[in-house]
């Protein structure tokens, strides 16, 4: 073999690839060994408990995965409704059990495809779901009742719009909206800190977030209308303490408002769902899930007046880290994703969206998605991991780490409270500043070689045909032609829909917004009339005294001007 002869000599280094750091990803220093001494204050009944028992450190169900495996869920959202619909059907056949939806970036920003700023990101990251007609196409032939849908949108306006389209669709088909299952994120802190979405200001976001929780509690009780999100803050740079504090801080702030302003109790809401991140740091990730469940149980009971088991238990939905995946040697991402999935199962999560090996290159290809599902089947059926609940419970190290994360997160929550609470910390920019600080620390460590990323700043090696094939198969962004077709389709919709019906529905939305009524029902009716996301966002903005277009690039459409004039006459 000529490859062997090519190198005459090779330098041998016995310590090649040795450990370069003794801290976890979030900077927690760790010792070589943990002993009973490190957890001597821990009381089993009080602090850990069996699965299904307060404080739920070991999981929220007594039987855990024997009774119900985690939901295998992931975002399916390609550039067109047709591609997305086809992919959903294909994945369901392979074992996908949770349907996670998203939209393209302009839609999530609150603008329509024919807005001048939409062009450059149109159909990127998802379907331009500007109106119910696209939703109908995207979900065509898929069951709506008693399926777990999850809405992952960035902005509050898209949480409202995409939630509302479900009841709109169901009522049109004669289905009972009480059978709607699933969750949406609807976290106004995440919308501002991570995305700074232009659609609405914080005052509108706060009000609509509460409207959605209230409406859902009364009308779609199996739907979780608020799922505070730590995934995206962590992807932006937050460390484990910041992620946990932000998720729980957001939950506390919103529920305190709900209890005070909407006459609901946490018991009425039941189980809370949070979306969290699974990072490459294996034990830190596992301990985080255990810590956040215990913290929530105590907060719900002691601070928010929960009395039922359900209201004290926290369901954890995961998206594994996208930022940990690399474009260099993408095959290595299979190892990263597998370890992240394993940490989720060992940590007792309830729903899992695993990023795919080609995700650093483009949207996931079908085959990469099948790998994600199969990896979960292998962990279940070949590795036998989920047979025993919380298998790492009682490990000196994992219990110590769970305590350490809990303590750090509580300290941060106290700091937030000392600074006037979550809303105040959002307004002052303090929350974002904290994340920024962590991000810069990580960046510095990477460039100084104190944090090694395989294939990127260490062990570069060479890419061969498998890696290149992964690069080639990732889903590509749509062409100019496809984008032009989308613009043509929204123009056609505006021309063909019943304009009088749209006008009446938007009038009611405008009135409800101004009068302080819950705006979810008017949004459902507007969706039924095929009002677009841009129109709904704009009408609410006008009711609050802002200009129609959040990006100040277009004028208020004449028919909107007219309907507002008619209401105010």
């Amino acid at each position: 073999m000529c490859a062997i002869n090519a190198r005459k000599e090779v330098a041998f280094n016995r310590s090649f690839g040795a450990i370069v750091r003794t801290e976890l990803q979030s900077g927690i220093p760790v010792k070589v060994i943990y002993t009973p001494e490190d957890i001597k204050n821990l009381q089993y009944k009080q602090d850990i408990g069996d699965p299904g028992e307060y404080p739920y450190t070991r999981g929220i169900y007594p039987e855990m995965y024997r009774n119900r495996l985690w939901i295998k869920s992931f975002i399916v959202c390609y550039s067109t409704a047709e591609d997305t619909n086809k992919a959903f059907k294909d994945y369901i056949a392979s074992g996908q059990t949770g349907l996670r939806l998203l939209a393209d970036l302009p839609t999530q920003s609150g603008i329509d495809p024919d807005h001048p700023l939409a062009w450059n990101s149109m159909m990127c990251g998802g379907v331009p779901t500007y109106s119910l007609n696209v939703y109908e196409k995207m979900l065509g032939g898929l069951p709506i009742e008693n399926v777990d849908y999850e809405l992952a949108h960035s902005s509050i306006s898209s949480a409202l719009f995409f939630y509302s389209m479900f009841p709109a669709l169901m009522e049109k088909k004669g289905l009972n909206i009480a059978n709607l299952r699933g969750a949406n994120i609807n976290d106004p802190f995440r919308s501002r800190i991570v995305y700074d979405t232009p659609d609405w200001r914080d005052e509108i976001n706060r009000r609509v977030c509460l409207d959605l929780i209230e409406f859902s509690a009364h009308n779609t009780p199996k739907w979780k209308a608020f799922a505070p999100n730590g995934v995206d803050p962590q992807q932006t740079g937050a460390n484990v303490f910041q992620e946990v504090a932000e998720v729980l801080g957001s939950a506390m702030a919103i529920y305190q408002d709900i209890i005070k302003e909407r006459r609901l109790k946490l018991d009425d809401i039941g189980t809370t769902v949070v979306s969290m991140d699974a990072e490459s740091d294996f034990f830190e990730t596992i301990a985080k899930f255990r810590a956040v469940r215990r913290m929530w149980a105590r907060i719900a009971k002691e601070k928010l007046g929960a009395t039922t088991e359900r209201a004290m238990s926290l369901r954890i939905g995961i998206r594994t880290s996208g930022i940990s995946l690399q474009t260099q040697k993408p095959l290595n991402n299979a190892a990263r994703v597998t370890l992240q999935i394993l940490s989720c199962v060992l940590g007792g999560v309830n729903s899992l969206d695993a990023s795919s090996i080609d995700e650093a290159i483009g949207l996931p290809s079908t085959e990469a998605r099948h790998f994600n599902i199969d990896a979960q089947h292998i962990i279940t059926h070949e590795a036998n991991v989920p047979l025993v609940a919380d298998p790492l419970g009682g490990s000196y190290y994992v219990e110590w780490l769970t305590n350490t994360i809990e303590e750090g997160a509580y300290k941060l929550l106290e700091k937030i409270e000392g600074r006037g609470g979550m809303w105040e910390c959002l307004k002052s920019g303090w929350l974002r500043g904290q994340i920024e600080e962590s991000r810069l620390k990580v960046q510095k460590e990477k460039s100084e070689g104190k944090r090694l990323i395989v294939g990127v700043n260490a062990f570069q090696g060479e890419e061969g045909s498998i890696n290149r094939a992964i690069e080639r198969t990732a889903y590509k962004v749509p062409s100019k032609k496809a984008r032009l077709q989308t613009i043509a389709s929204i123009k056609k919709l505006r021309k063909n829909r019943n304009q009088q019906q749209v006008k009446e529905a938007l009038k009611d939305l405008y009135r409800a917004t101004k009068e302080g009524r819950n705006i979810v029902r008017p949004t459902i009716e507007a969706a039924k009339a095929y009002a677009t996301i841009g129109e709904i966002v704009g009408v609410v903005r006008i009711a609050y005294g802002y200009k129609y277009d959040p990006l100040a690039a277009i004028e208020t459409p004449p028919f909107i001007k007219e309907l507002i004039r008619e209401v105010n006459q």
């Binding site: 700023l117 450059n120 991570v194 700074d196 474009t327 483009g362 991000r439 960046q443 990127v456 700043n457």
Partner: protein, 134 residues
């Protein structure tokens, strides 16, 4: 390496609705630490707006960041706007998730760099310094 006499002025811009900001923020700090004057436009910008900012700020370089795979669309629009304003002497560099097949097209248009994630910061800084020393 030729030393640049005056401070390099660089605009980091995100055009469209791409929300992925981490790369832009990372470069903002890296360029500043390298002694450049950096202006970051923030997200949700128009091509025309970016060019206007570049003119107002007397920038040497516009650095476009995008993680949606749409750099070709974005760069085309920015170059058009530069031409329209008669300031085609402003260099345009790009980075983010850029499809491999688009890179030669971008290079031909005069958009250089085209750096992917994980590129060593020194390599990017070096590219900018060289570009400005001609």
């Amino acid at each position: 390496m030729v030393r640049h006499k005056k401070k390099i002025r660089i605009i980091i811009a995100k055009v469209g609705c791409d929300i992925h900001e981490r790369g832009a923020l990372t470069l903002m700090h890296a360029f500043r630490n390298a002694g450049m004057e950096v202006i970051y436009t923030g997200r949700y910008q128009t091509p025309e707006g970016v060019v206007k900012t570049a003119i107002q700020e007397d920038a040497d370089i516009i650095a476009l960041s995008d993680s949606t795979g749409s750099m070709l669309h974005i760069a085309t629009a920015v170059l058009e706007a530069l031409k329209k304003e008669g300031v085609s002497d402003i260099h345009v560099v790009a980075g983010g998730l850029i499809p491999r097949r688009d890179i030669p097209i971008l290079e031909k248009m005069g958009v250089t760099g085209n750096f992917g994630p994980g590129t060593p910061l020194e390599k990017i800084i070096d590219h900018i310094v060289r570009l400005c020393s001609f």
